[in-house]
């Protein structure tokens, strides 16, 4: 693993090369005539990673602006109701479309009744740079919800995209740490939004503060510091 | 209180003319409370006035409930139907109901629909599927019709229609699927406060002076040249092609004068808040002929007042 900066050449070479986020192929010289090797450059600053056999390369970095990618789970806010479905804000460049039929058990007669301002946990089903992203709230094969759908009550925390990925990492300390202190429910969207719920309001506040301070883009606290902060907060709010 | 000391110095401004105002807002005594709830009487109210308890009565239009009190939100007359208390505002925009006849103006042409301004809180919608197209009632709408919607109605056109239904957000949807509805020609529009147009048996009125009136419940009134019985739709003289025509027929001078006279009469009556019915309009027209008043003089204050006095005395 190494750190690269935008514009830097990346020594990615493979017969079946696949480029992930932050990498771009540029043509060098008289590309059309000879078999001049095209080169790969980084377009973002971050840590360069590749798969074991060197066929897949990508850059890991942190940002706050979400760019939709297919099959990613996201949390969106309904901003508009339309005849066919809903317009959903994901915090990305464009708002996404969510078909009213893309829910478990939805039919022409029985469409989900989401209000403007409702939160949905959905999966990006289509993300093309020239089109608005599309979402679905079920598994297209089984037509089962699989946990997707409207998120009721609870609270929405915004964090950096890196923090979202961290929360999905089973080895990351935060969720086990919080889970040991009180029962909680979490839905992590890869678009920098985390929905949290717990029985008591003060626990929800503690969780949201913990996510904020553990964020590498924020205070970047470690397990010990977060634990102390949560305990302090808990005792302060219990007064 | 300190304030009152100052008001005694200006007694002409406060409380003398209206002694009932003095302690009205504080302790509304029960007698009066019961009073207005008697059917038939009309009590005047204003926003923020306590009307009754919400335990005994239901709140209707023009009222709201706060802490079990029913309170007026508009100024007007209190009306009661069984347990329902409503306040009817003396002046307000048109409040549509299904089945109402309205006159409106096209403001926008949108995909498969027109937007119609009808003096309501939002522009009404006229769907392409809710109009009769030339070629008969049974004619199916084609895609080509969608493309030539402006040949039927375009921005600025006036039409008479009926309120068909409401959308979920309260916008009204109109239809013109009747022989008597559709585009308006050969006349002029007068706007009056909607409350002055009462629900009548028929809102299409023919005055003997060769003038037809359409009293829209939204306060828009269409005053036009009389259409002969034989030329009406469905009769043999009916010209099907003219339904969406933008050209006026020939109108002779006497008809033009009559249209102007009726228009001015309506304006005068409306400015004196006289509700418009066929009987009143007929009376007014006769009066103006009797008085031999010139059309433009009708709008003068003295003549207007004389007219209204005469109408009231006849009523």
């Amino acid at each position: 693993m190494s750190i690269v900066l935008p514009g830097e050449l990346v020594p990615a070479q493979h017969v079946n090369l696949k480029l992930g986020p932050g990498l771009q192929q540029v043509q060098t010289g008289q590309a059309s005539t000879s078999r001049a090797p095209s080169s790969i450059i980084a377009t973002r600053a971050g840590a360069l990673h590749h798969s074991a056999n060197g066929s897949k390369w990508w850059i890991e970095s942190n940002s706050r602006r979400y760019v939709p990618a297919p099959q990613e789970s996201v949390i969106g806010v309904i901003v508009q109701k339309q005849a066919e479905g809903f317009r959903v804000d994901l915090g990305s460049a464009h708002s996404a479309n969510l078909d009213g039929l893309a829910f478990e058990g939805a039919s022409k007669r029985n469409k989900p009744n989401l209000k403007i301002g409702s939160l949905v946990y959905a999966r990006v089903s289509l993300a093309h740079k020239d089109m608005e992203p599309e979402l679905e709230c079920f598994d297209a094969q089984t037509r089962k919800a699989e946990g997707f759908g409207e998120l009721k009550s609870g609270f929405l925390v915004r964090c950096s995209l890196r923090m979202c990925r961290n929360l999905l990492d089973p080895n990351h300390f935060l969720l086990p740490l919080l889970g040991a202190l009180f029962p909680l429910e979490v839905a992590v969207g890869l678009n920098g939004r985390v929905w949290v719920n717990s029985k008591e309001a003060k626990h929800i506040i503690a969780i949201s503060r913990a996510i904020e301070v553990a964020d590498p883009d924020g205070d970047n606290m470690d397990a010990k510091a977060v634990k102390k902060l949560v305990e302090d907060l808990d005792s302060k709010m219990s007064l | 209180m300190i304030e009152f000391t100052s008001f005694r110095q200006h007694p002409d401004n406060f409380s003398v003319k209206h002694p009932e105002d003095v302690d009205m807002d504080m302790d509304m005594d029960e007698d009066e409370d019961e009073d207005f709830l008697q059917a038939g009487s009309s009590k005047i109210t204003y926003p923020g006035e306590y009307l009754t308890s919400s335990q005994a009565f239901m709140r209707g239009h023009g009222t709201y409930v706060d802490n079990e009190d029913v309170i007026a939100s508009v100024s007007g007359t209190v009306e009661r139907v069984n347990k329902l208390v409503t306040v009817r505002a003396v002046r307000t925009r048109y409040n549509p109901e299904v089945g109402d006849l309205v006159v409106g103006r096209i403001t926008e042409v949108q995909p498969r629909r027109w937007k119609v301004e009808a003096n309501s809180r939002q522009d009404a919608v006229l769907m392409l599927s809710s109009v009769n197209l030339p070629g008969g009632v049974q004619r199916r709408k084609l895609e080509s019709d969608e493309l030539q919607m402006r040949t039927f109605f375009e921005e600025g056109d006036l039409l008479v229609a009926e309120v068909q239904a409401f959308f979920s957000d309260g916008t009204m949807s109109l239809h013109t699927r009747s022989l008597s509805y559709g585009k308006l020609r050969n006349g002029q529009l007068v706007a009056v406060p909607p409350i002055l147009v009462r629900r009548l048996k028929s809102h299409f009125i023919s005055l003997p002076c060769g003038v037809d009136l359409i009293l829209g419940l939204n306060g828009y009134i269409w005053v036009s040249k009389h259409v002969k019985e034989s030329d009406r739709e469905g009769e043999e003289g009916f010209d099907a092609e003219a339904v969406y025509s933008n050209r006026n027929d020939d109108i002779d001078d006497s008809t033009r004068m009559a249209i102007s006279r009726v228009t001015n009469l309506i304006l005068v009556l409306a400015s004196h808040s006289v509700p418009l019915t066929d009987a009143v309009l007929l009376d007014a027209y006769e009066w103006s002929i009797e008085q031999d008043a010139h059309i433009k003089d009708l709008l003068q204050d003295e003549i207007g007042e004389a007219l209204v006095t005469s109408i009231i005395s006849r009523g």
């Binding site: - | 204003y46 306590y50 023009g62 939100s73 925009r93 301004e117 706007a191 808040s273 066929d278 009987a279």
Partner: protein, 258 residues
């Protein structure tokens, strides 16, 4: 220049001959002005005069400005160049005018039952004709009247009064001369609940003095309410009478239920 005039003389009279708590004459005209507005009102407090026209609720001109659950309120204020003793043209972009219209919008937003009219717009146009202190007060009172006149449902009247403190003596309903020299407060109350919809205060005043004038202005608001209420009732009664005078005669009328 103005400081040479005594604000409150030894006899307890103010420069225009009023006593401390005396309000200026209020005159209210609710007749339609032929502008086609749904409601209008012209109101004056002494020499301060404003005219307000209300249009709506009606279709919003710009779709981007609509709300899916309530009506949008739009306030525009024009201050006539001749309205004050020094001729001065204030444009639309003037910060004071913008602040005033913003204040009025925020004051009336919770008072108008906007949720009855989703996606609609209510336009309030205010023209200031004469200024002699208490501009905000006059605008608030006139707007309340114009809204009622337009039949727009309100939770209550909003009645505003200015107050000021001359050394330790509170004064009500300030003229321009007094306003320039004294710390002044404008309070708008909703008379039914006695709650305050708006409070603004400028220039230095001790906390204890503030409390006194604040409560006093709140009380005076109720007196203004009496006047406004009377005007509204008179106008309503006139209209109702006019309609009833002929209504009974119409034989063909169908029973008219709302």
């Amino acid at each position: 220049m103005s400081s040479r005039i005594e604000i409150l003389n030894a006899g307890g009279y103010r420069s225009d001959g009023r006593r401390q708590y005396e309000l200026r004459t209020i005159s209210i005209d609710l007749s339609p002005r032929g502008s086609g507005a749904d409601g209008s009102a012209t109101l004056s407090h002494g020499l301060t005069q404003v005219s307000v026209c209300v249009f709506g609720p009606r279709e919003a001109k710009m779709r981007s400005q609509t709300f899916h659950d309530r009506a949008n309120i739009n306030v525009e204020i024009g201050i006539a160049a001749f309205s004050s003793s020094e001729r001065r043209k204030r444009g639309r972009g003037d910060k004071r005018v913008l602040e005033l219209s913003h204040t009025l919008k925020a004051t009336f937003e919770p008072v108008i039952q906007t949720s009855l009219y989703p996606r609609s717009q209510i336009d309030i146009y205010i023209q200031v004709l004469q200024q002699d202190g208490g501009l905000l007060q006059a605008c608030v009172n006139a707007t309340t009247l114009a809204l009622i006149n337009a039949g727009i449902p309100l939770y209550d009247f909003v009645c505003a009064v200015t107050g000021g403190v001359h050394s330790t003596s509170p004064l009500l309903d300030l003229t321009l001369l007094e306003e320039n020299d004294l710390p002044n407060v404008t309070v708008a109350v909703m008379p039914r609940t006695g709650k305050v919809a708006l409070v603004t205060m400028e220039t230095r005043l001790h906390v204890d003095r503030f409390e006194e004038i604040f409560r006093l202005a709140g009380e005076a608001g109720k007196v203004i309410h009496g006047e406004m209420k009377r005007a509204v009732k008179e106008r309503t009664q006139d209209l109702v009478n006019a309609m009833q005078s002929v209504g009974k005669a119409a034989g063909t009328e169908v029973v008219d239920e709302y």
